[in-house]
């Protein structure tokens, strides 16, 4: 198809570069600098989609972000992009797009049957029906509704694009490069301020690109390009096009999305598709302009009904005619600009002006051009289904209540102008309580809440002269306060046409006997009668109206519908618009790609990964890793075809029989120094710490103030005023903050300092009856006898030239030592241990074997210390000092905590000595009791006891201390298991703890 609607000349497109693209499978041509919308209109394509509810044909209504209709599905570089606005998408070679929300195609859409049944689908109809039979909502009605809804189709393939983030600080952020943005940016830049000027569109200049004005001795367009090129050349200015500031957040943090590659056939290597800018600005100038307000009349959603400003933009920027027989329907002077533009390009428009008469400059010009102007005229309805073919028009009475005889005029487009709505979204997001400005019938910002200033038409100022004057002044004032420099420039003189007052009229009454649909929200199919129905049914708050009718909840977020909705509500309720108030503006101003919000933290990098210095050794030795928070730890080392169970059993057994080594680097480590350290520990831990000698370690439990166990670990007195604390892997960060909290806020009188040393040390636990032999060979000069290095003893040693710290502590319940060296030497240490341990049959063991060892010893860990248990529950009574006070002690006397049948940790053994009890099972008395079956407690940890070669579990059960010997049931309904069990002591192996002291 040739470009029937493209003018021979004019516009800002590059006519030297033709671009071919496909829409709904058909090939078209456009030019570089087109949007998908302008190129389609140039080709006479107006039917692009179907509406949400009634599946009515939809074309183009705007030329930018306010577009409610033209949503397409794109295919770019073999990737699917659902829900792309054709008015925003720049054309590139090979672009492929198709219509959405229609089946089988946009031309013939089965869903359009809804349109003929629309009488049955008023606002909120679904609340009144689809209730019988009961199960049908979920099974029948909902699937049908779901299928009919939604626009594009998402691909489940991974997004191959790259998205980046940038953090920026500036003196002034200016949102929009129209006259107010350019003037304020220029003035501020002259004062040396660091300025960021953001423009949503690809071209800078905003309204100056399409308005007939003179600034100085240049056209508006020329002036804007001159200012932009000057700004671009200044080192203190960042100028960004294709960049939408969409959110105004706390403390003057704004967020902008920059579309870097969306206008290209594909993103270049290492170049992001989009970049998200977090900008902290000292001052913000909101120069986001205004959006034309539609007029409401019958079938005003027909393709070919378009905003008059958009029609002008298509003409002036793209050299494209939205129609060849245009009707301009306006309540103000703006419509005339469009009419004149048509006329200048050889097209005869008819102007219908709702006003009685007007004699402003522009109307005179239109009259001089012999443009057919009909005052006191309105469009009653558009005619045509997939495209406007004609319009029913009529004269309207002065009070706008009565219409006269209907006339039908041929036309192929209706350009509507209902005056202007300032884009106040960012100001409102900032917290600015907006006010209603009677003269323009719209809301504008009032008192600034944060450091924001709104200028130009966004502030309800519609003359260029005042806009430039105030913007130069504000740009200068705001920047000089920051930079203390003033380099004031003179404001150029402006020639522009004076406008007369707009008509306070937006909604054309229905002729008698006609029931035309008059649309407010074009995408969500919300009509005037829907609003009336909502009010009639008592949904009177504007929020109720919005929610009941879905007005303004479509992807355009009501940019063109909100004010007309408010006007209607206030008319029907006999209120004025400010009494009705508007719904809250929230970020984002326009939809933002989720990929851009997330940035680079995707896939394997969605969270950090922490690895110990021995990680590569583990990898080389067939370790299978497990996530422990963000750490990776070896879970087991696979020999041949072993599975988890077999490997962990082998490893655990080897610890019990010979010696094993486990990487314990991930444990949290905190260095504690200062003369009051002992006193501090004495307050932090439940047990006594004042008399711990130098060179000795002690196990400790710390509570939260509510008496719940927070963490456990060992702390070693390295020297008089120096302690080394270990925490669990999971709680390391919390414990450090906890200690700092008490030292800095509660007991600042204590002279103690704490610092994390987790990263500084690599740790290896050497455990098993032969561990002393290994240790002796690792440290030939050290006395490692039971007397020389007793249980809970600490020594420093030299491990083949490397300084090492040796703690005789044990989690496995065996004779064991923990050796720490500086992280850089971790791998060296590990290899030495393996080399020397070889003759003692040393094997590395992972977390699974470690669990087995601790469970059968009855050592509590994370699964018992789950944030809900007190020390008594964990059989840690002996560690709770009766003599001294400590954090959380006062909570331990609560009724529930001292109840005689308080829960307690016990051991659980299946009666058949074969069936493993799944973790998370519950202990019950009667497996067949009716539900809800009372639970005695739950199985917290299970293992295969390598000591006894049968399953063993820990459980925390009610009255645990009196349950030993009872025969009960472990139940896991999820796994369909009922296992008869006997309750035994939690200390299943070596209950007296002789091995660790051997």
């Amino acid at each position: 198809m040739s470009e029937n609607f493209r003018l021979d000349k004019g516009g800002l497109i590059n006519r030297n570069k033709k671009i071919s693209f496909k829409f709904n499978g058909k090939k078209y041509l456009g030019y570089e600098g087109d949007t998908l919308a302008s190129a389609l209109i140039a080709n006479g394509v107006h039917l692009v989609g179907r509406s949400f509810k009634y599946h009515r044909p939809r074309g183009f209504f705007g030329a930018g972000v306010d577009e409610p209709y033209a949503i397409v599905q794109m295919n770019r570089n073999n990737q699917v992009d659902p829900n792309v606005k054709a008015t925003e998408q720049e054309l590139f070679e090979g672009l492929e797009a198709k219509s959405v929300n229609c089946w089988p195609n946009v031309d013939f859409d089965i869903g359009a049957i809804n349109n003929f049944l629309n009488k049955f689908f008023p606002a909120g109809f679904y609340y009144k029906t689809f209730m019988w039979p009961k199960s049908f909502w979920h099974k029948v009605y909902e699937p049908i509704i779901r299928k009919a809804a939604g626009f594009g189709t998402a691909s489940i393939k991974h997004d191959k694009e790259r998205y980046e983030h940038k953090y920026e600080y500036c003196d002034l952020l200016i949102t929009g490069s129209g006259p107010s943005g350019l003037a304020s940016a220029y003035a501020a830049a002259q004062n040396g301020a660091k300025v960021i000027l953001a423009e949503d569109k690809s071209r800078f200049g905003g309204s100056l690109l399409t308005s007939e004005v003179t600034i100085g001795n240049q056209s508006g367009q020329e002036w804007s390009q001159k200012i932009i090129s000057e700004l671009k050349s200044m080192p203190n200015v960042i100028v960004k096009n294709r960049s939408q500031v969409f959110g105004y957040y706390d403390h003057n943090m704004l967020v902008m999305s920059e579309r870097i590659s969306d206008h290209l056939p594909k993103s270049e290597k290492y170049t992001p598709k989009q970049r998200l800018w977090y900008i902290r600005a000292k001052e913000v100038i909101i120069s986001s302009g205004s959006i034309e307000r539609p007029l409401v009349f019958g079938n005003n959603d027909t393709p070919g009904v378009i905003l008059s400003s958009a029609a002008k933009e298509y003409l002036k920027i793209y050299g494209v005619l939205v129609g060849k027989k245009p009707l301009v329907f306006t309540n103000n002077d703006s419509g005339y600009e469009t009419a004149i533009e048509f006329k200048k390009n050889g097209i005869d428009p008819i102007v219908l002006d709702t006003r009685k008469d007007s004699n402003s400059e522009i109307i005179k010009e239109a009259k001089d051009l012999n443009i057919n102007i009909k005052f006191s005229y309105v469009v009653v309805t558009a005619k045509g289904y997939k495209k406007v073919k004609s319009a029913d028009i009529t004269k309207i009475s002065d009070d706008k209540k009565n219409i006269s005889t209907i006339e039908n005029v041929n036309c192929d487009c209706i350009c509507v102008s209902g005056f202007w709505t300032p884009t106040i979204h960012l100001a409102s997001q900032s917290g600015n309580k907006t006010k209603f400005k009677e003269e323009i019938d719209a809301f504008i910002p009032s008192q600034s809440k944060q450091k924001e200033t709104t200028l130009g038409s966004a502030n309800g100022i519609f003359t260029l002269e005042e806009t430039l004057n105030t913007s130069f002044e504000k740009g200068n004032d705001l920047s000089k306060q920051i930079t203390n420099k003033e380099n004031k420039i003179s404001v150029p003189t402006v020639v522009e046409k004076k406008y007369s007052k707009h008509d306070k009229f937006w909604c054309v009454p229905l002729p008698k006997g006609k029931n035309y649909k008059r649309f407010l929200d074009f995408q969500n199919d919300v009509t005037v009668s829907d609003i009336q129905l909502a009010l009639r049914e008592g949904y009177r708050s504007i929020e109720h109206v919005k929610r009941y009718t879905t007005l303004g909840m479509a992807t355009d977020q009501g940019k063109t519908s909100n004010l007309n909705g408010l006007q209607l509500v206030s008319d029907f309720e006999n209120k004025v618009v400010p009494q009705v108030g508007h719904t809250t503006f929230r970020p984002p101003y326009t939809s933002v790609s989720i990929g851009a919000i997330v940035g680079r933290e995707i896939g394997i990098h969605s969270k950090p990964t922490r690895k110990s210095p021995m990680h590569h050794w583990h990898e080389k030795n067939n370790a299978v890793f497990v996530d422990a928070g963000v750490w990776l730890r070896p879970r087991y080392y696979k020999h041949g075809s072993e599975n988890l169970f077999e490997a962990s059993k082998r490893e655990a057994k080897n610890v019990r029989q010979n010696v094993g080594v486990c990487d314990v680097t991930t444990l949290g480590k905190i260095d504690i120094k200062g003369p009051d350290s002992a006193e501090f520990l004495n307050r932090v831990y439940t047990n006594a710490w004042l008399k711990l000698p130098v060179g000795k370690a002690r196990y400790g439990v710390m509570l939260r103030e509510d008496g719940i166990v927070m963490d456990d670990g060992t702390t070693t007195r390295i020297s008089e005023n120096h302690y080394h604390m270990t925490t669990t892997t999971a709680q390391a960060a919390n414990v450090l903050s906890h200690l700092e909290y008490y030292l800095q806020l509660v007991w600042p009188e204590l002279n103690v300092n704490v610092v994390s040393s987790t990263e500084q040390w690599a740790g290896a636990a050497i455990a098993g009856p032969k561990s002393r032999d290994v240790l002796q060979k690792l440290f030939p000069d050290l006395d490692v006898t039971n007397e020389g290095l007793p249980f809970m003893g600490y020594r420093e040693g030299n491990l083949f030239g490397v300084n090492a710290k040796i703690y005789r502590i044990s989690f496995s319940g065996e004779l064991a030592y923990e050796v720490n060296v500086e992280s850089d030497n971790g791998n060296y240490m590990w290899e030495k241990i393996m080399e020397i341990g070889k003759e003692f049959n040393i094997q590395p063991y992972g977390t699974e074997a470690l669990s087995t060892l601790r469970i059968e010893m009855g050592h509590v860990a994370g699964s018992e210390l789950d944030g809900r248990t007190i020390p008594y529950d964990n059989s840690l009574d002996g560690l709770v000092s009766k003599k001294k006070d400590f954090i959380g002690k006062r909570s331990l006397n609560k009724t529930a905590y001292v109840a005689p049948d308080r829960q307690k940790v016990v051991g659980v053994v299946p009666l058949d000595k074969k069936t493993s009890i799944p973790e998370g099972s519950y202990i019950v008395r009667d497996a067949k009791a009716k539900l809800p079956n009372p639970k005695l407690g739950h199985v917290s940890a299970s293992c295969w006891s390598v000591e006894y070669d049968n399953p063993f579990s820990l459980a925390i059960i009610k009255d645990g201390k009196n349950m030993i010997g009872q025969k009960l049931f472990a139940m896991s309904p999820l796994k369909n298991k009922i296992i008869p069990v006997e309750i035994v002591s939690s200390h299943y192996v070596d209950p007296k703890g002789e091995r660790v002291r051997s």
Binding site: S737, Y741, R890
Partner: protein, 88 residues
């Protein structure tokens, strides 16, 4: 994102800090007789006003100091920041 002036380091974005809640909670002295109710009030009751709120933050990815911040819970405006040992 809040912009918090650490009294030790200067203005920093909120993501360097972690929150610590009501700063007016005073831990009872150790070893001091205290009623159950007073203790429970300390553990469980918090000031949560709409408006000015004195709260704790820790500059966890900075100097690691706990600080006090007077902030409006409705507007999120920060009026004042204090060191741990300072009072309003």
């Amino acid at each position: 994102m809040l912009y918090i002036k650490c009294p030790h380091c200067g203005l920093r974005s909120q993501n360097e800090f972690s929150y610590g809640g009501d700063a007016t909670v005073k831990r009872p002295e150790l070893n001091k007789e205290i009623s159950d109710q007073d203790w429970d009030n300390f553990v469980y009751l918090r000031k949560s006003p709409r408006g000015k709120h004195l709260e704790l933050w820790q500059h966890i990815s900075g100097c690691r100091q706990w600080i006090k911040v007077e902030r409006d819970t409705l507007t999120h405006e920060i009026f004042k920041t204090l060191k741990a040992n300072e009072e309003l």
